[in-house]
């Protein structure tokens, strides 16, 4: 065996475990999901091929239509908010509190990340309770009438988004903080010599240097938000009406409550395509500089 062939063989051997893991846990399930999406399949009996009927039904289904709309709104609210908030808090800690207080704040901000979603959902349900919630009590001090946060279409999704943002900010904060620590202090010293103020430094040094980190945070944020399920499950069960139905919640209902696994696979693949498209648009926007 030539040296090149030997090298190739070793290469394959090293790659094989990851390759097999990918094939077994990702590639095969995607292919199977695609197949099931073309069938009427309840899991309890054999799949029956029905072509693209599940896809046609999905786009006509009022629950899927509401889910699509709600999921996009959810992404549009949570992703920018959690990105901006985590970046600002990380920048403030990096600039002003690189001490035990900063570490304490970071630890506190990370607690929601490791908390159960059901717990966070229940907590926010209590906070935003119409009659006994703290939020309405505080608003009442300022003369604002009680808001039925989770009981009206116009505010239910926003309330779920607030809970999700609160839960996620700590995670992205840590990522941003690590990115901030990687920016050489000499850049700031040079800018200071040139007379740049704090705000100018932030926009001309911090933001550009955080570009790869921001790309990562946005990518993760978008994917997580498209997969929104747990908060909805814990707080609203998709209601009131269809106002907080998300795509993953609809997939869950179709698969496990309605025994329509084929249909659920079709909606899941629609979601997969959306995430793929949005992610590629994002890549175009950020170019290759994130590398």
């Amino acid at each position: 065996m030539s040296k090149k062939a030997k090298d190739n063989l070793w290469g394959w051997i090293f790659v094989l475990p990851s390759f097999l893991t990918l094939v077994v846990f990702i590639v095969i399930p995607i292919i199977r999901s695609f197949y099931y999406s073309l069938t009427e399949y309840s899991v309890l009996s054999s799949p029956k091929f029905i072509g693209i009927q599940n896809y046609i039904a999905a786009f006509q289904d009022p629950f899927v239509q509401a889910s699509l709309k709600n999921t996009f709104i959810y992404v549009l609210i949570t992703v920018p908010m959690q990105t901006i908030l985590s970046m600002i808090i990380a920048a403030v800690i990096a600039m002003k509190f690189q001490n035990r207080y900063g570490r304490f704040v970071k630890a506190c901000m990370f607690i929601p990340v490791i908390s159960s979603s059901v717990l966070v959902g229940t907590l926010f349900t209590l906070l935003f309770d119409t009659d006994k919630g703290i939020v309405n009590s505080v608003l009442a001090v300022f003369g604002v009438d009680a808001i039925n946060w989770l009981g009206q279409s116009s505010t239910a999704l926003v309330t779920v988004c607030i809970a999700a943002i609160w839960k996620n900010v700590g995670y992205f904060l840590v990522i941003f903080y690590a990115g901030l620590m990687d920016i050489p202090t000499s850049y700031y010293e040079a800018a200071k010599v040139d007379g740049a103020g704090k705000i100018r430094q932030f926009f001309s040094i911090t933001l550009p240097c955080l570009r790869p980190i921001t790309y990562l945070v946005l990518t993760l944020g978008i994917i997580w938000s498209f997969q929104a399920f747990d908060m909805v499950y814990a707080m609203t069960q998709g209601g009131p009406g269809k106002s907080t139905y998300t795509l993953v919640y609809t997939i869950y209902n179709a698969a496990f409550r309605e025994y329509r696994m084929g249909y659920a696979c079709a909606v899941a693949l629609i979601l997969f395509v959306f995430i793929l498209v949005v992610n590629n648009v994002q890549r175009l926007f950020f170019g290759d500089k994130e590398d």
Partner: protein
């Protein structure tokens, strides 16, 4: 009509059941010993899946099945699955071939399993004498065959009232009609400052059992006809929806009802903040423990009376490798001794066999004999879960003034017909 007929049979069966309760211990003994006489299932392993009814169901069943295990040589693995993941776990278990031999199921689950052949008919495994011991045996005949063994039957959704609050408002009896309900609720709110009557519209579709279906039956309607066709486009369905909607627009129920789930409402009842609510009769124990001076009526009446009653069951899975042993386990689980202990220790319900003594709340005993023909179980029909989801979502929108009662029902009918 068919269900009404079954209900009428139920009444007579219930009458005989309750009447025989005090003198039937010998029958119970005979049932148990006849099923135990020649059974030998040495080495057989069975699994039994159930949802949690009491505080420690697994321990309860392990203790109470020990004698049967010793007698037959079989062993039983009891798995108690939380309510919120019950259907999910059941479906994945059955699909992956790791499902139970005997399982607990509620009506909403049945159709898909029966249609796919996952549940075995049980008629041939029971003698006529054994069948006669089950008060609700006929309820187990669904989709044309005896697929299920009625197991948790009862817990009708009744109207509970805090009699102290009603007395403060000048009333000494629980309202029995829709008009009285509205009148008493308004009076309670006016004179005590508490919520007169509350309905949880912020939960999930299962709450329809308390917040819409009872009113539908009371308006003279039904969920579906004898052929299994959805009947939410009837005048009765509309009357019920309009009444439910008027409870909100007239200020009878709390304005925040769309964000309140059933626990919030029952907790507020137990805290003395709500005077009346509709809930499962099993909630009576907690009401008493909370120190509430409560009374109830089975239902309020409009055109007629009616409310929802549980008709949950044990099923024999087709995949069971030891069906004889599994059926024997079903018989043991529903034996008078175990059922009576189950009703005493885990879940207060009326007897399901003629050999049991009534151990549910004494206040409910007469209800089961007087009103049984007005108790309705949920139908076993195709796509019922989807229809319930859609109906709940549409009625929620109605409660938020986004749809009229007519639109809410029409949307549901359209959605149901789109499912095929």
């Amino acid at each position: 009509m068919k269900r009404k007929l079954i209900s009428l049979l139920l009444v007579s069966a219930m009458l005989s059941g309750c009447g025989a309760a005090s003198s039937s211990s010998s029958t119970a003994q005979a049932t148990t010993s006849s099923s135990s006489g020649t059974e030998d299932f040495s080495g057989v392993e069975l699994s039994f899946w159930t949802a949690p009814f009491g505080e420690n169901d697994a321990q309860f069943f392990e203790e109470h099945l020990a004698a049967w295990e010793e007698r037959t040589g079989a062993t039983v693995n009891v798995e108690v699955i939380p309510w919120d993941s019950y259907e999910e776990k059941y479906m994945t278990g059955v699909a992956s071939g790791t499902g139970p031999d005997v399982g607990y199921m509620y009506n909403e689950m049945l159709y898909s399993y029966i249609e796919s052949g996952a549940i075995e008919p049980i008629d041939s495994y029971f003698t006529e004498e054994e069948k006669a011991n089950y008060i609700y045996w006929d309820n187990g005949n669904v989709l044309g065959k005896q697929y299920i063994l009625p197991y948790v039957v009862g817990a009708p959704r009744v109207l509970f009232a805090n009699m102290d609050l009603l007395a403060e408002a000048g009333y000494d009896a629980v309202p029995t009609t829709w008009d009285e309900l509205v009148e008493v609720s308004k009076a309670v709110t006016e004179k005590t400052g508490k919520i007169g009557f509350d309905v949880p519209w912020g939960g999930y579709f299962g709450d329809l059992n308390e917040i819409y279906f009872p009113f539908l039956w009371q308006a003279g309607g039904d969920i579906c006809d004898d052929e299994g066709n959805l009947t939410l486009d009837t005048d009765a369905a509309l009357t019920a929806a309009e009444f439910v909607y008027s409870l909100k627009t007239d200020g009878v129920i709390s304005a925040s009802c769309v964000s309140r789930d059933s626990s919030a409402v029952s907790d507020d009842f137990r805290a003395g903040e709500v005077a009346m609510y509709i809930g499962a009769s099993v909630g009576a124990k907690k009401n008493t423990e909370a120190g509430i001076n409560w009374d109830y009526v089975p239902f309020t009446t409009n055109v007629e009376g009616g409310t929802m009653v549980a008709n949950d069951s044990l099923v024999l899975m087709s995949s069971s490798k030891n069906k004889e042993a599994a059926v024997s386990l079903m018989k043991e689980l529903t034996s008078p001794e175990i059922m009576q202990a189950f009703h005493e220790q885990c879940y207060q319900m009326p007897p399901i066999t003629t050999g049991e003594t009534y151990v549910d709340d004494a206040k409910f005993e007469s209800m089961y004999t007087e009103y049984a023909d007005q108790f309705h179980a949920l139908p076993v029909m195709k796509n019922f879960s989807q229809i319930e989801s859609a109906l709940f979502a549409n009625l929620q929108q109605m409660m938020m003034d986004e749809l009229t009662p007519e639109e809410a029902l029409n949307n549901t009918m359209e959605y149901a017909s789109s499912l095929g």
